[in-house]
């Protein structure tokens, strides 16, 4: 395996198609790693945009076509789903503010073509959660995670309510009222993010976060994510969000100003530094100055550099498994102080062991 498979993957996702494999061995590796990193659709979309899909050898082209079909279908389905959520929230006069993948498509960001996603994530004001939940239930969504401990865990500590699934379509909406759990170390103000939300550029009636908040949310999400399966893809999202928005020369400065306001400077600096290291992102000079001002620790960089590679055997380095475990453990600690975390993990283990719905509760454990 060439040591730079992940760099090659990043180049292709950016549309640098001179990095396409020159022989079938190379295609074999590319299709495998791209599928593992959830980037097959993005690469197919770039090939399609450049009009070179037809010149890809028959065998790998089948896989690119399949992924492209799936991604295009998902984009249509997500829009339809967002509009249904809009219908459900109209009677209570609440806006649909989309987060993550669906928001990139709604905003017409061209890199979102070919991107895979499944659920729809929305952000609503905390004091409106109950009303929103009721409104969604009237239109056919129902809560999942029925165990009483899970319900309490979500509602007491998390930044979202348990995912709601549509009873007929099986589709899921995640209703967020914050972007991080209440127990997390950082505490960005969701009300301010909602205040800065704007209408999406492509889907009438659907809202998205401001450009700065969109990028900050993406970075914050990755910084706190314990599952590393999509980390590489998320780094590329962030690079391309930066690429789309930094056409405005004032964007870099306003991004860092906003990061300070929302107490998200650390996640932003770490994630952008890692984008430079892992996928070779070229940041604008004003951003580079900010990054150099307070670089993340060497050990954190080393851990993320390995842990955020695509999770495929062809990208394994010595220590990959350890690094991924460390990323997982670190994410839990960032999201919850240790004493709560230990209690939570203990309860989950107990419930798995006994098949119980909840732990016996003592008076002071509410």
């Amino acid at each position: 395996m060439t040591p730079n498979i992940s760099i090659g993957l990043a180049q292709l996702v950016r549309g640098e198609l001179n990095a396409l494999p020159r022989d079938l061995d190379g295609w074999d590796r590319l299709i495998r790693v791209a599928r593992a990193a959830n980037l097959l659709g993005s690469i197919a979309a770039e090939c399609d945009r450049a009009g070179c899909l037809e010149s890809v050898p028959e065998k790998p082209r089948v896989h690119l076509l399949g992924a492209l079909r799936l991604a295009r279908r998902q984009a249509v389905a997500v829009r339809w789903e967002a509009e249904r959520i809009g219908e459900a929230l109209a009677p209570i006069e609440e806006r649909v503010v989309l987060l993550k993948g669906a928001a990139y498509v709604a905003d017409g960001l061209d890199f979102a073509a070919g991107r895979m996603f499944s659920d729809v994530d929305i952000l609503v004001p905390f004091e409106r959660v109950r009303v929103v939940e009721d409104a969604l239930m009237r239109f056919g969504w129902a809560t999942t995670h029925l165990s009483s401990y899970d319900q309490r865990y979500y509602r007491q500590w998390m930044h979202e309510i348990p995912p709601m699934q549509h009873l007929e379509r099986g589709t899921t909406v995640d209703v967020h009222h914050r972007i991080l759990p209440r127990t997390a170390r950082f505490d960005p103000d969701p009300a301010s993010m909602l205040e800065h939300a704007r209408p999406s550029r492509q889907w009438p009636g659907i809202w998205v976060l401001s450009r700065e908040d969109m990028l900050l949310h993406s970075a914050t999400h990755l910084y706190h994510e314990g599952e590393t399966d999509n980390a590489f893809r998320d780094l590329l999202d962030i690079e391309r969000l930066l690429g789309c928005f930094a056409e405005d020369p004032a964007f870099g400065a306003s991004l860092f100003a906003r990061a300070r306001d929302l107490q998200l400077l650390t996640p932003l600096t770490v994630v952008l530094t890692m984008a430079e290291a892992v996928i070779g992102t070229k940041v604008p000079p004003e951003v580079a100055r900010e990054l150099n001002a307070q670089p993340p620790s060497r050990s954190l960089q080393r851990m993320l550099n390995t842990g955020w590679q695509p999770s495929h055997t062809l990208c394994e380095k010595p220590g990959s498994a350890v690094c991924r475990w460390l990323v997982y453990a670190r994410a839990h600690l960032l999201r919850m102080p240790p004493h709560l975390l230990i209690l939570h993990l203990f309860r989950k283990a107990w419930m798995r062991f006994t098949d119980a719905d909840d732990m016996p509760r003592t008076e002071n454990s509410r």
Binding site: L24, W27, K59, L65, G66, R69, R72
Partner: protein
């Protein structure tokens, strides 16, 4: 062209152990890694005449069947299926390893081959005229499929129709037929020469066995066919053999209902299935006697 039977057993076992054996089934190639002795043995029996490559350049799917680690490696051993490192299913008891491989391969195709329209149905052909048999479990689809496959019909697939939306042709897979419960004995009596795995009891689908595809089906795995008949079979104890034409309006929904990725293909899927429904004749088929059933299909082929 190399086939599995052209290789000595140690060569097959060694290639499987190193993950360098690639098996061709119709349009798909699968690179397999496994140290499981049952997998080695059953692959050699059930895929004897299939083309293989050692050290291939590009393979569609990279799969592995291996023992789970931990206590289940030693006590009541379990095996797991990996699609290029991902585990789509929960581990199963080791005696089910070959069945797990077969189901895993179905999953690889169904989850990623959106270049084609995929339907859950058996499909066989006479020349290049194909008959599609969609049916929910318990309707005798696999039994009928096995009977036809050894009596004058060419097996394309026992549960996956791979339809090319561009040309309207069905691509053969020529893979083993999955038979369940009472069907195992029925097929064994009907086709005593068929190569079959040991029946495996207590799977999610009951007792299952896999029947090797007839050699003609394997050597013709490159020959595509067009859907000419859509037959909805229903086995019913003691039922008289009846073949009733469907109204033209019933064929299209019968096909859509059984398509895995109709939604993914969008307009292309609609076009492909409406063309197939226009060109095919549909029937409801009820039977209890396999001999009589074979006669009905013989008449159908001549019609």
């Amino acid at each position: 062209m190399q086939t599995i039977e052209s290789l000595a057993e140690p060569a097959v076992a060694d290639a499987l152990c190193r993950g360098t054996l690639e098996l061709r089934t119709g349009p798909f190639t699968t690179r397999i890694r496994s140290e499981d002795t049952l997998i080695v043995a059953e692959l050699r029996r059930l895929y004897a005449a299939h083309p293989v490559r050692l050290n291939p350049d590009f393979s569609d799917f990279h799969v592995e069947v291996r023992s789970v680690s931990g206590p289940r490696r030693w006590v009541r051993r379990q095996v797991t299926f990996l699609f290029d490192g991902r585990e789509p299913f929960k581990p199963l008891p080791a005696v089910q390893s070959f069945a797990l491989f077969e189901w895993g391969l179905n999953w690889c195709i169904a989850s990623s081959a959106h270049r084609w329209l995929l339907m859950h149905a058996a499909v066989l052909a006479r020349g290049d005229d194909a008959v599609v048999l969609p049916a929910p479990p318990g309707h005798g689809k696999s039994t009928l499929c096995a009977a036809l496959a050894f009596n004058g019909w060419r097996l394309l697939s026992d549960e996956l129709v791979v339809l090319d939306p561009e040309t309207g042709e069905v691509w053969p897979l020529a893979r083993p037929i999955n038979v369940k419960n009472q069907s195992i004995e029925i097929v064994r009596k009907l086709v005593p020469t068929a190569v079959m795995t040991q029946p495996v009891p207590d799977t999610l689908k009951g007792t299952v066995a896999h029947v090797a595809p007839p050699i003609d089906a394997v050597s013709a795995m490159g020959e595509r066919a067009r859907i000419r008949w859509v037959v909805l079979p229903q086995w019913q104890q003691g039922a008289a053999t009846t073949l009733e034409p469907m109204s033209p309006g019933e064929v299209f929904p019968a096909l859509i209902e059984n398509a895995f990725n109709y939604e993914v293909l969008g307009e292309d899927g609609f076009d492909a299935l409406s063309l197939a429904a226009r060109d095919a004749r549909g029937f409801h088929f009820r039977y209890s006697d396999l001999r009589e059933a074979l006669g009905v299909f013989e008449d159908l082929a001549r019609s």
